[in-house]
């Protein structure tokens, strides 16, 4: 598995001095990337470094402003994704993009369904092929169900299946693991390695360094839209990479502060919604960070959505400091001091086409208004407070949130909810898609908020995060709470055991 970056063999994919600007926002100034066949190439960089933009240029979705783009040594110029597909490039985008009304199978094969002589789609062949793909990825998804309502994880898996089935020479994966848990990640990696060994070139983008170092052969670092370095993975360390990414030293340690744990703030009693979760009871105290762990699909998000009042539930009670939280009313829940940072920031967390300022003040718009009227100056001022504390990178407060990078979007969601000054902060996958620097900061922030007496309920699929930040860990499996583990007893093993116990396919 020798890496030959400067061999005379043309690279599978090469970009040189590529730049791209969106109006006043410059996403890329001079990006380089050289990916060889037979290798998995990591692309890392802070949020907003321009990774996804680079991917979209390769995919033919954006057109570069300047620079060279070579495919197997030949200069290419794609004007649509169809062309890049035809040239043997498959892309898994950062945000899953499925057709909600169509079946899982159709989603995988759209536009290239197997047909018989008369052009009629061969549904049976298509389904068999889909099941084969799922088998390879070791997942269980009904190929006939519509994509509507699938969890993000399942959507991501379908994206992966789709990309694999393209049988492309170059496979680019933009944070494919952000929504996945251990088992699925392992499976994905096994598939990725086998694709590499078949002689393909893969690009892997992730903010998780353990994954990067265990999977990849080469690593390219980007910063502020610029190429920084490319090295064989064996010749660099995590610390070095992180330093190059952010331009200084960062400790990835989670600085857990001890906080005085006080009275019960939230207590959930026997919450049940048939088919989704059953008999969920737990409490969260002020100053306490409770981690909610489990495999993807365990129903954690559904529970907190029900607690917050977005989703219905059939039985049970939610009590906030002695006051019952009414069903199905997020605004009542907010009034009682709840805040929910949802898992799907693009659909649930943000109004993408609205401005940073409008989004950041969305949850406090009532308290901002005087005599029922809202002044946009007040709005902007309020938005600036938390945006600046979280270091949101944006051109101006009236920029559309949708144009921010994924990580910065997540920061806006955080800003929006922290602005409500909640007594209980529920946070679903707080650091999904966030770079290391910001991640450490978010953890510090959570710690600090807890220190000030806020109660925090955190869902996370990243075990180190749960173990590092939580005072107490709740574990869910298949819609039920299966364990409650104190900070001192919580280990990777104990949590995983509770999350997977009795599942046949547990790794």
């Amino acid at each position: 598995m020798a890496i030959t970056p400067d061999s005379s063999v043309p690279a599978a994919l090469e970009l040189r001095g590529v730049s791209k600007a969106f109006g006043a926002v410059v996403a890329l100034t001079s990006a380089n990337l050289r990916v060889d066949l037979n290798s998995i190439h990591a692309l890392v960089g802070e949020n907003g470094a321009g990774k996804s933009t680079l991917v979209k240029i390769v995919a033919g979705l954006y057109h570069r402003d300047a620079g060279d783009f070579l495919l197997r040594g030949e200069s290419v110029d794609f004007s649509s994704t169809a062309e890049s597909k035809a040239a043997g490039i498959a892309v898994i985008y950062q945000e899953p993009t499925l057709f909600p009304d169509l079946s899982v199978t159709e989603n995988i094969f759209m536009g290239r369904q197997p047909t018989n002589r008369f052009g009629r789609i061969d549904r049976k062949a298509m389904k068999v092929e889909a099941l084969r793909l799922f088998e390879r990825l070791a997942v269980r998804i009904d190929p006939d169900r519509p994509a509507e309502g699938l969890s993000i994880a399942d959507q991501q898996i379908i994206e992966i299946a789709k990309a694999i089935s393209l049988d492309a020479r170059v496979l680019i994966m933009d944070e494919p693991t952000a929504a996945l848990s251990g088992v699925e990640v392992d499976r994905l990696f096994a598939v990725a390695r086998s694709l590499r060994d078949e002689g393909r070139a893969l690009v892997f983008i992730s903010h998780r360094f353990d994954e990067v170092f265990s999977l990849c052969d080469t690593i390219t670092v980007m910063r502020d839209g610029q190429y920084i370095s490319t090295d064989p993975i064996s010749e660099v360390t995590v610390d070095e990479i992180v330093r190059r990414m952010v331009g200084r030293d960062v400790t990835e340690l989670f600085p857990k502060q001890e906080a005085a744990i006080g009275d019960v703030v939230l207590s959930v009693e026997g919450l049940t919604q048939p088919g989704v979760f059953t008999d969920i009871s737990f409490t969260v105290r002020s100053g306490e960070i409770v981690g909610l762990a489990g495999l993807v699909g365990a129903g954690r998000s559904e529970v907190v959505r029900a607690v917050f009042g977005v989703d219905p539930y059939a039985a049970g009670r939610v009590i906030m400091s002695g006051t019952a939280v009414p069903k199905n009313s997020p605004s009542q829940a907010m009034r009682l001091g709840l805040a929910l940072v949802p898992e799907d920031r693009r659909k649930q967390g943000l109004v993408l086409e609205s401005s940073v300022a409008r989004n950041a003040t969305m949850a406090i718009r009532r308290s901002l208004s005087k005599l029922g009227l809202i002044d946009s100056h007040v709005e902007n001022k309020a938005a600036a407070i938390w945006s600046s504390r979280l270091e949101v990178k944006t051109n101006a407060l009236d920029a559309e949130v949708g144009t921010l990078s994924g990580g910065n979007q997540q920061k806006v969601v955080l800003a929006k909810w922290l602005a409500t000054n909640p007594r209980l902060l529920i946070i679903d996958e707080p650091t999904r898609g966030i770079d290391v620097g910001t991640k450490a900061e978010v953890h510090r922030l959570l710690s600090q908020l807890a220190g000030e007496g806020m109660a925090i309920l955190m869902i996370s699929s990243e075990l180190p995060e749960v173990l590092g930040v939580a005072d107490r860990v709740l574990v869910m499996r298949e819609g039920r709470l299966t364990a409650e583990i104190s900070r001192t007893e919580a280990t990777a093993e104990s949590v995983m055991f509770a999350a997977t116990h009795s599942q046949e396919h547990a790794a």
């Binding site: 926002v25 943000l350 609205s354 409008r358 969305m362 600046s388 051109n395 101006a396 407060l397």
Partner: protein, 360 residues
């Protein structure tokens, strides 16, 4: 990131040195105010008025504008709540039928000897109920508004026609029919413009300067994200449909008095005029975008164009063609302008240096 220690809950004073400072707006004040869809419509309206005043005989007289306002008042009125409904991403096609039903309600009740003032109130209540029925089917039962209001379009019109049959009620107190046509002496400005202005102010404030209005825009852009932010998505829509119902009923009363005639087929087909005007005014049919000043200009533009062309002896069919073409052109031109702007930026883009928020 030396500032992270200043991260405290917002309860702390805002004055502490933040990590970054932000510009409030990405573009200049001039661009934000004048380079908008709404301003384009207003400019077009001004141009049409100027051109018509110079070139169309008899156009530049106060009487033109008093007729114009008398004629377009129902559309102006209904366009107000319709704008809000469309911004939430819904639509109400039943407004003209509701006008008819309200008109017939006033007619049958006065015919039956009720005092006309009571009949007005009942008609408004009918409007509220009709709007609430729309709202119920759309928000509680969860049906698409286009389908529901196609149904209620038929239902309300059917009730109106059913109630009055072949007759038209034409006996209304002169006091009220005079008010509907009254003008502020000399100026030629109709009195009905007063309730319109009041409503316009109310709706503009509601849409653009309240948290309710913020919710309306959020619902239109992403109702899921709005729900997660505590916006009462269903309640908001329900209220808007009720408002549309009651304003339509009010327009129906005005229509009845203006023409002194309550008939089942009053105002048939007006819904398309209202929607055309709202869209011309720059409201996105997909929801989330639009402003009331643009809508009012849109209504007036269609009205002024119509009266100028009629005065110039252009036949009603050609007026229809022009109205249709204008609607198409106006939306096509915005996307053409956006496309042209993008191209220009793409060409000049590489030379620009990175302009982003300055680090603190």
């Amino acid at each position: 990131m030396s500032d992270t220690t200043t991260l405290t809950s917002p309860a702390a004073p805002a004055g502490q040195a933040p990590g970054r400072s932000y510009r409030n707006y990405g573009s200049s004040l001039f661009r934000r105010i004048f380079v908008t869809r709404e301003m384009a419509v207003i400019a077009l309206l001004a141009i049409v008025i100027i051109v018509a005043s110079v070139s169309v005989k008899n156009f530049a007289s106060p009487i033109t504008f008093s007729y114009l306002l008398l004629d377009t008042t129902p559309i102006l009125l209904i366009a107000l709540p319709m704008t809000l409904v469309i911004i939430t991403g819904e639509i109400d096609l039943s407004v003209a039928s509701m006008m008819g039903l309200s008109s017939v309600t006033v007619g049958t009740l006065t015919q039956a000897g009720w005092p006309i003032e009571v009949a007005f109130v009942v008609a408004l209540v009918v409007g509220v109920i009709g709007g609430a029925l729309n709202g119920f089917l759309i928000t509680v039962v969860g049906l698409p508004s286009l389908a529901v209001t196609i149904g209620t379009l038929a239902l309300y019109r059917g009730l109106a026609v059913g109630l009055l049959g072949t007759t038209a009620v034409t006996d209304f107190p002169k006091f009220w029919t005079d008010i509907a046509k009254a003008k502020f002496a000399a100026t030629g400005i109709p009195v009905v413009i007063v309730p319109f202005i009041i409503l316009a102010v109310v709706f503009a404030v509601l849409l653009h300067f309240t948290s309710f209005g913020r919710g309306i825009f959020a619902i239109g852009l992403s109702s899921e994200a709005a729900a997660f932010s505590g916006v009462h998505v269903e309640r908001t829509k329900f209220i808007l449909f009720m408002l549309t119902g009651v304003v339509s009923a009010f327009a129906g009363i005005y229509y009845t008095l203006r023409f002194g005639s309550a008939r089942g087929d009053n105002a048939t087909g007006l819904e398309l005029s209202v929607i055309a005007a709202v869209l011309l005014g720059g409201v996105s049919i997909f929801g989330g975008r639009g402003a009331l000043h643009g809508v009012i200009a849109g209504v007036l533009l269609i009205g002024v164009l119509g009266s100028a062309l009629r005065l110039a002896n252009v036949s009603s069919d050609v007026i229809n063609i022009i109205t249709g073409a204008l609607l198409v052109l106006s939306v096509v031109s915005t996307s053409f302008l956006a496309w042209a702007r993008k191209r220009r930026q793409r060409r000049g883009g590489t030379k620009k240096t990175a302009v982003s928020a300055t680090a603190g």
